[in-house]
């Protein structure tokens, strides 16, 4: 029994090790001066061919590349703000559209409910490229291609948040909702004062996943935004110029900083929200 416990612990920490090593390599790269980066990572940076000398800790720690990126690369800032402009209204819109719909799916019986929910699930699964034709036609018709709106508007109607929030609302005990009705609360009052507070973990989870997905999005901006001045931060690295290669690791670090901070802050909600979605069928 004791032996097995040791084996399990080693296995779990082994898995964590596999996660930490790539992240540490990235972080170390962000703190390396230019010449160390060229010495270690000439091939991965696409600048030449030389043996890779991977390191978890920089030999000569320096804030040069971070400084270069944050102070002398205005383009990077523009893309950072573009991402915020695109993702934050999208997540807010997802909340406004998805929360009431999820409440309807979770708490009401109405004809066609299962079919409709099935359609939502299919839409959630379909890869972007498949719905892209339809989306493109609408955005073109509305004349909002090549603007922030072309990412925000379709993003709002993603059905994944509806799915996750529905699962979360379903776990609210019926007794609580009925008690509210008995006290004379109307449908909307109940939604705002019982549903939203008790479904909060699921809502937070859905919005966080929406935020992460929007922040990572590559396909949508590449397809809908011709003007590179509108591109979000996720496209900075794929599009980085050769002479800026030394700030690539720093850019990688800054790009993941905001989503990681949000995850660490919302971790508890995420676990409760995921738990809610996993429990009831």
């Amino acid at each position: 029994m004791k032996k097995r416990h040791v084996f399990h612990t080693i296995l779990l920490y082994g898995a964590c090790f596999l996660i930490w090593v790539p992240l540490l390599i990235m972080g170390a790269g962000a703190l390396m001066p230019e010449d160390e980066l060229y010495w270690r990572y000439l091939s991965p940076l696409g600048l030449g061919r030389d043996r890779v000398r991977a390191a978890l800790i920089p030999s000569y720690p320096s804030g040069d590349s971070l400084g270069e990126l944050l102070i002398r690369s205005p383009g990077f800032f523009v893309m950072f703000w573009n991402a915020c402009i695109q993702v934050i209204p999208m997540a807010a819109g997802q909340f406004l559209a998805a929360a009431p719909a999820a409440w309807a799916f979770a708490r009401f019986r109405f004809p066609g409910k299962r079919l409709l929910f099935g359609i939502y699930v299919i839409l959630m699964i379909l890869p972007f490229q498949v719905t892209q034709v339809s989306n493109y036609l609408v955005l073109d018709g509305m004349g909002i291609l090549n603007s922030h709106w072309s990412l925000i508007l379709p993003g709002i109607w993603s059905t994944l948040p509806v799915f996750i929030m529905t699962k979360s609302f379903e776990t609210i005990p019926d007794a609580l909702v009925e008690a509210a009705y008995l006290d004379g609360a109307g449908e909307f009052y109940t939604f705002f004062h019982v549903g939203l507070p008790l479904g909060y973990p699921g809502i937070a989870t859905a919005l966080m996943l929406g935020f992460l997905d929007g922040w990572n999005a590559l396909e949508q901006p590449v397809t809908y935004l011709k003007d590179k001045n509108l591109w979000p931060i996720a496209l900075y690295l794929p599009d980085i110029a050769k002479d800026k290669a030394s700030v690539a690791f720093a850019a990688a670090l800054i790009t993941c900083l905001l989503p990681v901070l949000i995850y660490l802050n919302c971790q508890e909600e995420l676990e409760q929200g995921v738990a809610a979605s996993g429990v009831k069928q």
Binding site: I19, P44, V130, V274, G278
Partner: protein, 283 residues
Amino acid sequence: MRKKMIPWLFLAPSLSGVMVFMGIPFLDVVRRSFLNAMGTTFLGWDNYRAVWNNEAFRLAAGNTLHFLAVCIPALMAVSLGLALILSGMAKGGGGYGVIRTTMVLPMAVPAASMVLVWKIFLCPEGVFNQFLSGITGQRWEIDWAFSGYAFPMLLMTYLWKHTGYDMILWLAGLGTIPGELYEAARMDGAGSLAQLRYITLPQLHGTFCLTGILSVVNSFRVYREAYLLAGSYPDSSIYMIPHLFAHWFLNLDIQKMTAAAVMVTAAFLLPTAVLWIWRKGKA
């Protein structure tokens, strides 16, 4: 009468948007899939035949099925294994929180941030080849991301990113299994394998469906890693439906795209419908 309207009032904001951005345009896509490029002549099934006989489509569809068939079971098995081990650890015990936080962390890291690191491992002068040269004594100079091994590399990035999220789903499911079941089984002399087989796995049925669905949703996002690592024209073993659509989109090949979009949607609709009817029959 008023009571009947209430759910639809709640649904209205979401439903109207979904109709405008997905529903109606999809009907338009279906319509166009039967017409010629100008949208003037009815062609019947011609576009569908063209897509079906298209070699790139067959390659991409086959690879996508292959990827789903390998990656989703792998992801679900690995995450379930880790969840089982982790749930065996004392909750307050040392490291429990750290392990959980660590496992989910990759989900928050954008694909673009990791590409350089993957290249450090995979490039011809990279860590993998150095390691293999070290143990075999021969020179290894494979460009892993572009070689016939691109598929396992993609699987690796997929597992790295999504295992934690699935693990939390499994943990949530495990948390709902009543402890008495295990106690009763132990009284009857059931070993830990028997408990897993007869209690844990059957009780996880609901979580299994949910984890499966969400894993499929995530599996298509692997295109980002594939695109960033290997570009728009990767090794043929990882050329998938998203690559194909991206190319057709660039060439403005509307006929093929519309027909293929309908076909892919139908491919998802069919198993879902079967599953739905099957579950309805059981209930």
